[in-house]
Amino acid sequence: MQDITIILQILWTSLGTSTYDVLFAVAFALVLKVTRLFNFAQAAIMTIAFYTAFVVVQWLALPAFVAFIAMMATTLVASYLLERIGFEALRARGVSVMFVFVFTFMVSEFVAYLAALIFGTWPQTIFPTIFWPVTLYGNIAVSAWDLPALGATAASLAAFFAFMRFSRTGQFMTGVADNPELAALYGIDKRRIFLVTMLIAGGFVGLGMFLYGTRAQVLPETGLSLMLFAVAATIMGGIGSVGGAAIAAVILAMIQNASILVIPSEWQGFLLYVFLFFAIVFFPNGLHLPRRRRKFGTATRDVPPPAAPPAAPAAESQA
């Protein structure tokens, strides 16, 4: 039987480390939902984001907030270029899903090799140290990194969901995600919506990579591993559900951290691939939680399907 303090500590640490996983999962799930692309080039954006902050802090010796602004700017520019030069051109050519996948994968690999060539293949961090001061609350250790990370993640997600719910652009994004052709018929500019989606996803990736790079070491190929976690969370959360991906990311991060209690630490990384396989085999359509009941007339989803139309002879007799 494990000590309750250890379990609480693992839960707290998991919650902290799940912050960047949630942001990466939300970014991947959002792009998939609206543009219907498996955007593995997100790993390239992650790499660009991290090394921008690394250069600003470690090479130029500028303060952290400058690094954050610089990395957000580069992720947004990279996302813009990816959409305008890459995806837009591919959409215009009417290429297959296979082509787009290979393209995004090659972009992320190209950027990883470029980073390896410029920065070397050894692990780097944004700040010289990744050890943060710790305060004990009861017997639970809370690092100076935890609360700002949780706060920033919660605030960005709240802003995002509010934007999706209440802003005109957010509603258009939902419309394009549901039915792009119909949305276009209603005059929604799909081109603009795709760009906005990529920029929002880029913002999440930038924030997530800042959190990750201030807490863990990064290699040029780290982006791809982080991406796989996001993919597993997106599948388990249900493709098309951004909130589901976020919740799944938290649960997966907790399982991965808690696994230290039952398996050796060197197998923790392997657990990620088990998640991915498990998600594809058992939950290809995501984990479905029971829907809460709504008042009659407030939701169209829970309304039973309309009765079948009357048979032709009956209709004729009424006529």
Binding site: G94, S96, A232, E266, Y273, L276, F277, I280
Partner: protein, 293 residues
């Protein structure tokens, strides 16, 4: 002379890998990046069985083919049950997961690699005999894929790839055809792995990483998909490039990334400016089902 034999063997093995990958991605229309991991499974199976279990090398190579084939079915079956898109995602996880497994278990030699793999043919008949063996297997694989592509099964494969719905509507099972294509292509990669292991006699997980995925994909894309000679041309060209770079005598920490940049950069350039590759087939990348205007 040994250096030249080594290059011929490497080129021959990459032709096998590129040609078998062309069966999967080109003729079958299935996207997977895990081809190097089946190469690794074949190499490790053959090496472990021959060194530690004392199985004759030829049988060990055959076992490598079978293990790669079975592993590919284990990957494809759950993924393709859902959709083809899931195969490409699962293949990345499978590739990295199997390599992580190889690094963490003892009997594979871990990250340090597996050494003292028994040699085959060389002691009795000289290196030339091994070169001939690899070239013979290479020719057999090219002929096999050429024959499959032009047979009735090949025509059914094209129909399945171009319009899966229509293919299913005439009572054919697309999923099992995809699994068969994937298994055969992956099994051939496993056979190439066995051939690799018993010539170079030392394997490490690092030799089968994502760089290899990029390299094999580049050979097929640059050479030309859905053609017999495209992957052969791609493999020859892409294997000549690293040899040319190696004459610059750069340190390994720079050489690896430069090779990676070349491979991925070439794929991106060809995808945008010459998607049909050097040996063109028709309409390679366009979505097969076009909507009516």
């Amino acid at each position: 002379m040994d250096y030249l034999y080594g290059i011929i063997i490497i080129v021959g093995l990459y032709v096998i890998l590129a040609t078998s990958f062309n069966l999967i991605i080109g003729y079958g229309g299935l996207v997977s990046i895990a081809h190097p991991v089946f190469f690794a499974l074949g190499a490790y199976t053959s090496a472990i069985l021959s060194r530690d279990v004392h199985v004759p090398v030829l049988l060990a190579m055959l076992a490598g083919f079978l293990v790669a084939l079975i592993a590919s079915i284990a990957l494809a079956l759950p993924s393709l049950r859902v959709s083809g898109d899931y195969l490409m995602i699962a293949s990345i996880g499978f590739q990295l997961g199997v390599l992580e497994l190889i690094k963490n278990v003892r009997f594979t030699g871990g990250p340090g690699g597996f050494t003292n793999i028994p040699a085959f043919l060389i002691r009795d008949f000289g290196r030339e005999s091994y070169v001939l063996l690899v070239l013979a297997v290479m020719a057999a694989v090219i002929l096999l894929i050429w024959w499959i592509a032009r047979s009735d099964y090949g025509r059914a494969m094209s129909a399945m790839r171009d319009d899966e719905l229509a293919f299913a509507s005439v009572g054919r099972d697309a999923m099992w055809m995809k699994i068969a294509i994937f298994a055969l292509g992956s099994g051939l990669a496993g056979l190439a792995g066995g051939l690799y292991a018993h010539y170079f006699r030392f394997i490490t997980p690092e030799q089968f990483e994502i760089l290899q995925s990029s390299a094999i994909l580049t050979m097929v894309v640059v050479g030309g998909m859905r053609t017999t000679w495209g992957p052969v041309v791609g493999a020859l060209l892409l294997e000549a490039l690293p040899q040319a770079i190696s004459f610059l005598q750069l340190p390994p920490s720079i050489l690896g990334p430069i090779q990676g940049l070349l491979f991925t950069g070439l794929v991106l350039v060809f995808m945008f400016f010459r998607p049909q590759g050097l040996v063109p087939a028709r309409d390679i990348w366009r979505s097969p089902r076009k909507e009516a205007p």
